[in-house]
Symmetry: C2
Subunit: 234 residues, 2 copies
């Protein structure tokens, strides 16, 4: 297909935020809030992040960090659930759980194989610092980190994808966007990027509602990063 | 010193452009131009790059790639030296030699040790694509690639250093700028960054004029990246 580089979504596609953030909440609660459904809490926390990004009318000069979005949403959700006994330091540490999310088990071996043949970069809506922290903790071997913050626009805004192509010095057709979220790869595909869908059935935990159907519209449909490496000849 | 991250200059500090570019020119010439002093040619090529950057009044919307600066300068220099028998493909390949420059021998082992303790990123005036290509070829284990292109301003413009601090989510005092060029670390130091000077006596080849004097004004003076790792406790 003439592909030179792969761009990867991070939260959900490369990493398992659900178990990491759920674990952090349960550890912080330590059983003190038996009436709280922490699984639902994580789902609502993540949903709030999507709501803010969808509404975001931002530019490079008034950028809102995703960390602050998660921190604000946490305060609101804790109030909604009637949890008042987390102090500021505990809240900050919980918001930082999104910077400690761990890779899915197939990710490091899959990326290691893909890296032998392709340039690998992130294209994430998370903050640069968050992607750097996640990648360093998890040993993710990116050749470059690109994020929405560098474009002044969140995915699926075309500016985010175009920024990555400009920085790589490649045409969209030489780049494949890899994500478990179809809106993300559809937006890239509409700009001429190649597309790879990776199913992540556990993105929202066991029994969570997630779209894992393969679609003919994508160039590749893969079960995980090892399957992606197989299909891309690595 | 409370340092969390190290920023590295690439061309000269981490990599030996002189031998790579000189080798590419000599290979392309294949002895056909006995009157040309290719060592002097490389020095003038590099000097032209500095002249253009110094004069550059650029913003994010009218960015000049460094690749085009090198390509334009090559055409002028070949004309100056009366070399007319390089075709367009050969000229393009020569300009791309700046994206194939190899790391100094101490760089990969030094970075590998430093990476165990610090976040490592580039802060280069070269294009993102060039730094990605150089890093991939040389196996340079950066946690992130930052370049002037991302700031819309070349070092020593304060905007370049501040961009890196913003993206890392760190204060200048938590970041050390590492370079063999004193103007670069002095500019960072004036903004509150920590500074490390690394001597590169062969930057312009054997006998080339280069300032390798240690200075008390820098937080660290090092002979190479292994010495830097020693001094930073890695």
């Amino acid at each position: 297909m003439g592909i030179e580089a792969l761009l990867f979504d991070v939260q959900g596609t490369a990493t398992d935020f659900h178990s990491t953030v759920l674990g952090a909440l349960r550890t912080a609660s330590a059983g003190r809030h038996p009436g709280v459904d922490w699984v639902e809490f994580v789902d609502r926390w993540r949903a709030r992040y999507f709501d803010v990004l969808r509404e975001a009318k931002v530019g490079k000069n008034d950028w809102t960090t995703v960390h602050s979005v998660y921190a604000d949403a946490l305060d609101r959700l804790l109030a909604d659930y009637g949890v008042a006994d987390f102090d500021d330091a505990e809240r900050e540490d919980l918001a930082c759980a999104w910077q400690r999310i761990v890779p899915w088990p197939d990710v490091v071996p899959g990326l290691t194989r893909l890296k032998t043949r392709y340039t690998l970069a992130t294209l994430s809506n998370a903050d640069v610092a968050a992607v750097v922290n996640i990648s360093k903790l998890g040993g993710l071997p990116w050749d470059a980190v690109f994020t929405a913050e560098m474009a002044g626009a969140f995915k699926p805004d075309p500016a985010a994808y175009r920024m990555a192509a400009t920085y790589l010095g490649l045409a969209p057709g030489q780049i494949m966007m890899v994500a478990c979220h179809k809106y993300d790869i559809r937006a890239a595909g509409a700009l001429g990027f190649r597309t790879a869908f990776v199913a992540r059935p556990l993105e929202f935990g066991v029994g969570g509602a997630v779209d894992v159907e393969y679609e003919d519209e994508f160039d590749v449909n893969a079960g995980d990063f090892l399957d992606l490496a197989d299909q891309l000849g690595c």
